[in-house]
Symmetry: C2
Subunit: 449 residues, 2 copies
């Protein structure tokens, strides 16, 4: 038996390889790109991701959570910036609950360093999957450095090669393959909020910052060096869009009007705006995720938009789930493990894709709405009164291990209750009135919350 | 200026080429396959399609409706066959309204013959589109007979090359292309109901026959020679499925139990069941349909499942709509014509895709349900009472030129009315009671029907 093959040495592929190696398998990890650890740290753009409970559990499973915690920054709340620079805070959960800002490159480097320490793992960079022969279980690889092509067999193949997966590409060409790719009419642009004096943070450090503006938004997550990575999510076309900002003067004027409090912290704004690419935002759904000897995981199986901060977490949770199934079925019955993985995981990935699109509207639009902020405060009161019955949706998604599909269904039941309740509430004090309390009890019973 | 290029010499591509030639354009029609007119008529399977008002109008637009009418068979009603061979009829519309059974090959041959008569049209078979360079407006064609490849420029390209379109394949590889392909978990198998003595029809000739069986169904459409083409729509997997009928004995026993009245008319049943391929049922949605110099039409833009009998009609209506836009914009402003075609047509194609999936459930399941048949009779009574306000959904789709999206929206409003009304109706006579009539008036007003 040859080694297990993992395609894609990104975050999910690397973590999966660690899990498989920990179980005693020989593993080879293939990637089309060069080893990112050979790059200068200054090269390329810095990207921050939000790590939350599902991701942490996956890291704990291979004993590396503590290492990563050293280089992450806890974010305890959202801070909304209005056009006048007024700030409004909203905690993510209970006092000690946080999501964590981590640098994507640094996390990936750490995972690769850990893989390199394991003799049973072979890292093979610069190997492009030209063609995948599913029936013959053969990889046709091209060595990027030499241009040489060769074929080699595989035993089991894990496609963790991202939203534009080559492994999935081969599966798509089989009969009756369900597939969709849906793009938002929004792109994103990464920008830098510079560190203050002595590498201090010019905005509140332990928060995710949001500039909600109705039809678009900017967010920022902190880095260890005092800077923040900001991301503008913005329409491609239309009166307020990338297409409508053709030059530095237009960009500067637009930011001065819309993000006035951030502009003094963004001295390289116009330069970065045109030097950095505009990223697109895609949701990929497909089915099946497995065929004989091949399983898709991570973005290859379920790319989602970034608005719930769960993209990496859902992929990492894939690794935890797979590890659990190997515990249950043993490490030899791959057909059973792959089939059950797909059955368990597909509805949860679909729910997470829906949640991410739902949160796009919420972050862009609703978090700037006083009625919505009032509703969130009322929901917090309900949660305080009924802590076991009313767990906020964000908490279920971010700070629990409940399957995403169950979290989403519970969230929809809560939305229905709030839609009945909010017309009777104008201020926080109204919540305590007997009529509202009676209605709440009735709605909770009716919704089965 | 070179000729206009149409990719795909199937039904929609051929009809489109006729329309463009009629407007005075030089046209070349490319197809990967050989000219189907060179095949013996006995080769290949016979496939029948349902032609209805939208399709007829498109044929009238190039003056060939009368020719086709000669070789078509009007079907005035559905005839449902239950397990005991009991028949129940249901008219499609008013007395003179019918859908028409036509032979796909014969229709395609007629269109190609008409194209051949036109000196401005060049038919080029055996030309496979290997690669499409959208930026360079260049086709890379492979001559199937010689294996030779060559490149040639195009001015405007119309992709009418079907559900697995190569033209769309090139567009899919551009950034931010929205695409989905969704397969039903059902396949179809074509079978033959033989002609009776002296080429007579062994079942009612002017009807579409349906054997609804809850989780699957068989249908049959008449041919001119007295036979019927039957199609079984059946699950791929499960207790009652293709997978569960592994041999002739199993097929024969299953048909004897489920389609007893048809079996004596199907002497080649078991042989055909294993000789004929199992077809899959896909819905393809994509957007955009056009890019500079390229427009998708027909199944290439919107492949749908066959359960509303509209697949060919929606493609033919594409030709009528495009012709109308050329009347409006002139024959030189292709960017405006293509952009408006896509805007007008996309919502209607999406609605038709939804309708076809909706009718799958209706044909498979509901037409065998006495409550549903009662509802249909009540709807006919409402339509008789309120002929301008209550046009049945099937009539709007099949016997009108109303945009599909409007037909579908009206149908959903009617469904909402019937959902309120039917709990109060146990027999046809109940409809005339004052309480039901009052409720009907109220529901009609509320639904804005």
């Amino acid at each position: 038996m040859g080694p297990l093959t993992v395609a894609g040495a990104g975050l999910v592929g690397s973590l999966l390889a660690l899990y498989l190696a920990q179980r005693g398998h020989a593993v080879q990890l293939l990637d089309r790109r060069p080893d990112l650890r050979l790059r200068q740290r200054s090269e390329g753009r810095s990207i921050n991701l939000a790590l939350s409970d599902r991701g942490w559990r996956a890291l704990e499973g291979v004993g590396i959570a503590d290492d990563i915690r050293q280089v992450s920054i806890p974010l305890y709340r959202r801070v909304m910036h209005d056009r006048q620079g007024q700030l409004t805070g909203q905690p993510y959960g209970a006092a000690e609950q946080a999501i964590y800002s981590v640098n994507r490159d640094q996390l990936n480097r750490t995972l690769l360093d850990l893989l390199e320490e394991r003799p049973s793992v072979q890292l093979r960079f610069g190997q492009q999957l030209q063609r995948l022969d599913l029936a013959g279980r053969t990889l046709h690889l091209r060595d990027v450095a030499t241009g040489q092509e060769h074929a080699e067999p595989y035993t089991e193949l894990f496609g963790a090669d991202g939203a534009f997966s080559s492994v999935r590409g081969a599966m798509q060409r089989t009969d009756r393959y369900n597939y969709s790719q849906d793009y938002l009419e929004y792109g994103y642009k990464e920008l830098t909020i510079e560190a203050g004096p002595d590498a201090s943070w010019a905005l509140e450090k332990n928060a995710l910052h949001i500039w909600p503006r109705g039809q678009y938004l900017m967010i920022a997550l902190p880095n260890l060096d005092g800077s923040f990575n900001a991301t503008l999510f913005f329409p491609y076309e239309g009166p307020t869009s990338f297409a409508a900002l053709p030059d530095a003067a237009a960009v500067t004027a637009f930011f001065a009007a819309e993000f006035a409090d951030a502009v003094p912290l963004m001295p390289r704004l116009a330069e970065e705006f045109f030097a950095n690419p505009t990223g697109s935002l895609v949701t990929v759904r497909c089915f099946p995720w497995h065929t004989a000897g091949v399983l898709l995981l991570g973005d290859a199986a379920h790319a989602i938009v970034p608005f719930y901060g769960q993209g990496m977490n859902v992929g990492f949770e894939d690794c935890t789930v797979l590890d659990g199934l190997l515990d249950a079925h043993g490490d030899a019955d791959w057909p059973a493990v792959m089939a059950e993985f797909e059955q368990q995981r597909k509805p949860n990935a679909d729910a997470m894709a829906d949640l991410a699109l739902y949160n796009f509207v919420e972050m862009r639009d609703r978090v700037g709405d006083p009625r919505f902020l009032l509703q969130k405060r009322i929901e917090n009161k309900i949660a305080a009164l009924h802590p076991t019955r009313w767990v906020p949706l964000y908490t279920r998604v971010t700070f629990s291990h409940l399957p995403y599909a169950e979290a989403w269904a519970a969230g929809q039941r809560q939305d229905a209750v709030m839609a009945q309740l909010m017309p009777h509430i104008q201020t926080e004090a109204d919540f305590n009135g007997p009529a509202v309390q009676a209605r709440l009890a009735e709605e909770l019973a009716r919704a089965g919350v």
